[in-house]
Amino acid sequence: FAALLDRGNEDENTRLVKSYLSKFYSPEGEAVATINMDDDVAVTEKLKKMQKFHGLRVTGKIDAETIAMMKRDRCGVPDVEQ
């Protein structure tokens, strides 16, 4: 069962989140460079969209259940219109 978020993996979690969001929640599709690492507003907005899509609590923050969902095997087709 999903353990509580391991603070030690902060950077790894952030990388996972940004890679996931650029793959599945970027209408521009993969051709566009991954989300600008400093563009926290874009990340927060996409994170909220992902959390809403997956029926998670919409916090815009990187939390344990969001990470757990992002780590699940899935289909490669984006969740937002491309």
């Binding site: 993969e30 029926g55 095997d73 899935r74 490669g76």
Partner: protein, 367 residues
């Protein structure tokens, strides 16, 4: 369900498919059977006919690819992305690619079930996009489901019929339970290492004190457990939890079903007249487990590992006011909560009385 922008779909009902490449993980025969069954999922739900061709380009071309295979969507090695497909259209349109770096199987444990993934990807190839319904086949994440008992969710049926209309033979599918629907009831409830699990059909709601309530398939965690669990409790003596269906029960430790299970409930000391357990809870203080069947209950001593004498007793005698045919029961903070239909009754075992008010069962799902 959702469709793609512009709602692209095939402009005919007869659609061809070709298996362009195979995986070394499975015998070709089983790959063909899995893909044939995956197409059948959709031809049963909408007026579509699929014909397999071998020697010419087909509308839907299925292949196994690895890494970057030059369609602008490289695969990522084992795990993560399992497959993808393209919406209806010419050339690559409608094509389905499976990630060869996954382990493909006709079963459910070692690897990913090809039938389930193919059925999902063919949904895309027919024009469906991802669904937000967690019980739908078109939900983005992978969940194993036994191909022999697989049923297309009503959300998926609605989606494909919005594109291609209804088939001659009407078809209906299971609806995903909604936590906060007024009609929500539970089959079984248990604590588990600080979380709570509420069983319902093929699903369970998982409630974690920090992160709310999440709907899951039972098969996501325990592919070998049946759906329709009828009673469940956490055994504090053995740090595992026990689930009951019919006259069988399973002991689970985390994701693993303990060896030697399922066992017969008659091994616990029930008479053969008992055909199923309605509800069960265990008292962590005393190590006693209470089993409810119709209007009676039994008490089992987890420490001595035996059913206590003097049972069964009438529920009404010791749990006055909770009624009979309990759906589920759980002990929390010294109280016992009895779920019957849409209502849950709090019971104080010290005073041997009901603690008003009676609440809605789904109030336990933060509704």
């Amino acid at each position: 369900f959702t469709l793609n922008p512009g709602e692209p779909k095939w402009d005919r009902k007869n659609i061809t498919y070709r298996i362009v490449g195979y995986t070394p993980d499975m015998h070709e025969f089983y790959v063909e059977k899995a893909i044939e069954a995956a197409f059948k999922v959709w031809s049963k739900a909408a007026p579509l006919e699929f014909e397999r061709v071998k020697d010419k380009v087909a509308d839907i071309e299925l292949s196994f690819q690895r890494g970057d295979h030059y369609d602008n969507s490289p695969f990522d090695g084992p795990g993560g992305t399992l497959a993808h497909a393209f919406q209806p259209g010419s050339a690559i349109g409608g094509d389905v690619h499976f990630d060869e770096d996954e382990t493909w199987t006709a079963g459910g444990l070692q690897g990913h079930n090809l039938f389930i993934v193919a059925a999902h990807e063919i949904g895309h190839a027919l024009g469906l996009s991802h669904s937000t319904d967690q019980g739908a086949l078109m939900y983005p994440t992978y969940t194993y489901s036994d191909p022999r008992t697989f049923q297309l969710n009503q959300d998926d049926i609605d989606g494909i019929q919005s594109l291609y209309g209804k088939p001659d033979i009407p078809v209906r599918g299971p609806k995903t339970p909604e936590a906060c629907a007024p009609s929500t009831t539970f089959d079984a409830v248990t604590t588990l290492r600080g979380e709570m699990l509420f069983f319902k059909g093929r699903y369970l709601w998982r409630k974690h004190f920090q992160s709310g309530v999440q709907l899951e398939f039972i098969a996501t965690f325990w592919p070998d457990l049946p759906s329709g669990i009828q009673a469940a409790y956490e055994n504090y003596e053995t740090d595992n939890f026990v689930v009951f269906k019919g006259n069988k029960y399973w002991a689970l430790n985390g994701y693993a079903i303990e060896s030697g299970y399922p066992k017969s409930i008659y091994q616990l000391g029930f008479p053969k007249t008992v055909k199923r357990i309605d509800a069960v809870f265990s008292d962590s203080e005393s190590g006693k487990t209470y089993f409810f069947v119709n209007d009676k209950y039994w008490r089992y001593d987890e420490i001595r590992q035996s059913m206590e004498t003097g049972y069964p007793r009438p529920i009404a005698q010791d749990f006055k006011g909770i009624g009979k045919k309990i759906d589920a029961a759980i002990q929390q903070n010294g109280y016992i909560y009895f779920f019957r239909g849409k209502r849950v009754t709090q019971f104080d075992p010290r005073r041997k009385s009901v603690v008003p008010p009676i609440r809605k069962s789904n109030s336990w799902l933060n509704c």
